[in-house]
């Protein structure tokens, strides 16, 4: 018995609603975007307001190679989830691992850059406003990359254990969505820090 069905109820022919995972991830992305916006605003607002050096122009180098790594990982993760949908598990695992490697490379690049800034230029988070805003913004992004990498790796482990099947493609797609977001944020951070900010 349908509970509240009454005389006039026509059961709608196809009652499909959006997938909750996707809606939730989209909501999370909106929330995260607001957080990043505030950090970006702070970065832009404090450009050129540091009372002491070093300045961005003096010390920053554009990380082109690592940026290419991160951006191409968006492509690999996309095709990875597509191949899972087509039940092509080997391709899925290969592309998925490649995504993790590319993401890891990017993080490694951030590490090198920070090492250089700290040990060669003496720029720390407490040095000046540039240091504070730079490490916070780039660090917040790197934190999201790390979180993404951990989740990607968990899926990889399950995949290698043979536990990821094509009927889970929607869940994997949710993670891929998050990864796209992390990449998109980098485009903004890159523009702000390395192009506008110098």
């Amino acid at each position: 018995m349908s509970a509240v069905a009454s005389s006039a109820v026509e059961i709608p022919p196809a009652w499909t609603l959006p997938y909750r995972g996707k809606v939730a991830m989209a909501s999370l992305i909106i929330a995260e975007s607001a957080i990043f916006t505030i950090f970006v605003v702070a970065y832009l607002f404090y450009l050129g307001k540091s009372l002491t050096g070093p300045t961005p122009r003096e010390v920053l180098e554009t990380p082109i190679f690592f940026t290419i790594c991160l951006l191409s990982s968006s492509i690999t993760v996309h095709f990875a989830s597509k191949s899972l949908e087509r039940n092509n598990r080997a391709t899925f695992l290969a592309l998925w691992s490649l995504t993790i490697i590319l993401g890891g490379l990017f993080l490694f690049g951030t590490g090198i850059e920070w090492h250089r800034l700290i040990y060669e230029h003496g720029l720390k988070i407490s040095t000046n406003l540039f240091g504070t805003t730079y490490y916070s913004l780039v660090g917040l992004h790197a934190f999201h990359v790390s979180a993404g990498l951990i989740m990607l790796t968990i899926v990889l482990i399950f995949g290698l254990a043979g536990q990821v099947h094509e009927d889970q493609f929607r869940r994997v797609g949710v993670l891929a969505l998050y990864w796209h977001f992390v990449d998109a944020v980098w485009v903004v951070v890159f523009t702000v820090v390395y192009i506008v900010g110098r």
């Binding site: 509970a3 509240v4 009454s6 006039a8 909501s27 404090y46 988070i125 407490s126 916070s136």
Partner: protein
């Protein structure tokens, strides 16, 4: 027609050992239980916040009073504001949303039950952190101290130099953690509403309560997060030696103000939109008419949500912005009044020509309408930047926002308690005690907050510890304080009503108000699975259709 046939009555109660009961409640992922946990948790904090308010009012009762020390006074107003906003009104609204939204849209639970529990416990932990500061605020060095930087925690008060010890850290972490809880719950509300509606429940058939909570949750996503971001920055400043808000190193205290109010103003609409939601369900039922102007109501809410994102600097007229910024924020602030006015018009339109039943839930809604209108008008007064230079940071502002939060939001909440408690506990709240509660509260409220406008206009600044005699403030402040105690008594009546009716209130039955939305088709309290079979709906008032098969709404919509 009785709706008993609709669900299997809940399997009631074999006695269980209390440890098992406790374990069940602590590990629960059921949206109804989590809803009740949110509500009970908020009521506990309401008592804390209320005691702090009374301490403030005793201190200000007459000039040159020494009831508490200035340091304690600062802690009291800081803790009072923080508690009431973040640990009373937010959780109680989330509690009602949690409890009602799945029932109203014909779902068996929220979209992510475990995330739901996680979010609740995050918020609960945030509240404990805040209050732990009384003990741990000075670290391990001795007597504790709670935060005393005001609920906006303006820089540089929060800098290490001015706020040694850990009290500001507890404040920051408490809000950060409970903010994450709010974001989790909001994601859950959005996913539930968009993905779990029962067949036939199109968006334009959804109860307004669900609609308004959807908008509220969307606002949480974009408005609470700036606060979280600012809190992270503050932590970076305090722990890693950053300079975001450190004027010595070129940082800006005004930036914190912007970040805080980018959160702060939308926050007040996050609080009031669920109150609108309660009204939109209660007023039609007690006017025996469907809501007037449903689509306009939805549109006005969305409009309010957008406009309220661009008004934040009306809290900063006295900071010294240029005249373009002042005009912009004055105009946008006044513009918010338009969609808000539309809503008031719609509720009155709903009552117009209706057969109004003056039961306690409806009394509180009428109180809301009257008081919210006045509060909106004092809001418009402050929106005029030049006039606000006079009013800002005075007791007029305090009177304005308490008029909205107490006279509006709290009244709507009390209405919601009287309306939905029968569903939650299966027992009616006493109508007689309810009337006592209502009238005592109305009297106390107006004594306190009507009168409070006057010392504000006379120039009494907010947050002062004490004042000189002979300025004409003494009598007014005494009246304000007496009103506060009358409100406290009214709250005690309310709590007594909750407790006594829980044990010996009249049985509510499924549908005590002859209402029209799906939650009333379940038993009271509803079974854990809510609906034995998922309902199918064909109009905005599914129970009306069921009760009046000869004249269902679905023919007209």
């Amino acid at each position: 027609m009785s709706s008993d046939a609709i669900t299997i009555p809940a399997l009631q109660i074999q006695e269980k050992p209390w440890v098992d009961l406790l374990h069940e409640w602590v590990t629960t992922v059921d949206h109804k239980r989590l809803g009740i946990l949110y509500i009970v948790y908020a009521l506990v904090f309401l008592v804390f916040g209320g005691i702090e308010a009374l301490i403030i009012r005793v201190q200000l009762m007459h000039s040159h009073n020494n009831f508490v020390s200035p340091q304690v006074f600062n802690r009291m107003f800081t803790m009072h504001g923080t508690t009431m906003i973040f640990f009373v009104v937010m959780p109680v609204l989330f509690g009602f949303a949690n409890y009602l939204v799945p029932l109203m849209i014909g779902a068996r639970d929220m979209a992510f039950p475990r995330l739901n529990a996680f979010s609740f416990w995050l918020s609960a932990f945030g509240g404990l952190l805040l209050y732990f500061s009384f003990l741990g605020g000075s670290g391990l060095y001795g007597a504790g101290s709670a935060p005393d930087v005001g609920w906006w925690a303006y820089a540089p008060l929060t800098a290490r130099a001015f706020s040694p010890g850990h009290s500001s850290d507890y404040w920051t972490l408490a809000l950060l953690v409970s903010g994450f809880g709010s974001i989790g719950t909001s994601i859950n509300i959005i996913a539930t509403i968009l993905c779990l509606r029962c067949p036939g429940m199109k968006l334009n058939r959804m109860p307004l309560l669900a609609w308004l909570n959807l908008v509220m949750a969307g606002m949480v996503l974009i408005a609470i997060t700036p606060l979280s971001a600012a809190q992270i920055m503050l932590l970076i400043d305090r722990y890693l030696g950053g300079h975001f808000f450190d004027a010595q190193a070129g940082g800006s205290a005004v930036l914190w103000m912007h970040f805080f109010w980018i959160f702060g103003h939308p926050e007040v609409y996050i609080l009031v939109i669920p109150a609108f939601a309660f009204l939109s369900e209660i007023v039609p039922v007690f006017s025996r008419k469907p809501i007037f102007g449903y689509p306009v109501m939805v549109a006005a809410t969305i409009c309010i949500a957008f406009v309220s994102l661009s008004v934040w600097a009306h809290h900063m007229f006295t900071v010294g912005m240029n005249s373009y910024a002042n005009s912009f924020f004055a105009i946008t602030t006044m513009a918010v009044g338009i969609p808000t006015g539309i809503k008031i018009f719609n509720w009155i339109g709903t009552m117009w020509g209706g057969r109004i039943l003056f039961k306690v839930p409806m009394l509180f809604c009428l109180g809301f309408l009257f008081q919210f209108l006045i509060a909106g008008l004092t809001g418009i007064m402050q929106a005029a930047a030049p006039f606000d230079w006079q009013l800002s940071l005075s007791y007029f502002v305090v009177a304005h926002f308490h008029y909205v939060i107490v006279g509006g939001i709290l009244f709507a909440l009390f209405g919601a308690f009287y309306y939905w408690c029968p569903k939650m506990t299966g027992r009616m709240l006493s109508e007689r005690l309810g009337r006592w509660h209502f009238w005592l509260f109305v009297i106390g409220f107006h004594m306190t907050f009507d009168v409070m406008h006057i010392p504000g206009l006379l120039g009494m600044p907010r947050r002062i510890y004490t004042y000189e005699p002979g300025r004409g403030w003494d009598t007014l402040n005494l009246i304000v304080s007496i009103g506060a105690f009358i409100q406290a008594i009214a709250i005690l009546v309310f709590v007594w009503n909750l407790i006594s009716s829980y044990f010996k209130g009249a049985k509510a039955g499924n549908d005590p108000w002859d209402a029209w939305t799906l939650e009333w088709s379940t038993s009271s309290p509803p079974p854990p699975y809510n609906f034995a079979t998922i309902p199918v709906v064909a109009s905005r008032r599914p129970l009306w259709d069921l009760k009046h098969p000869e004249d269902p709404d679905s023919l007209y919509e």
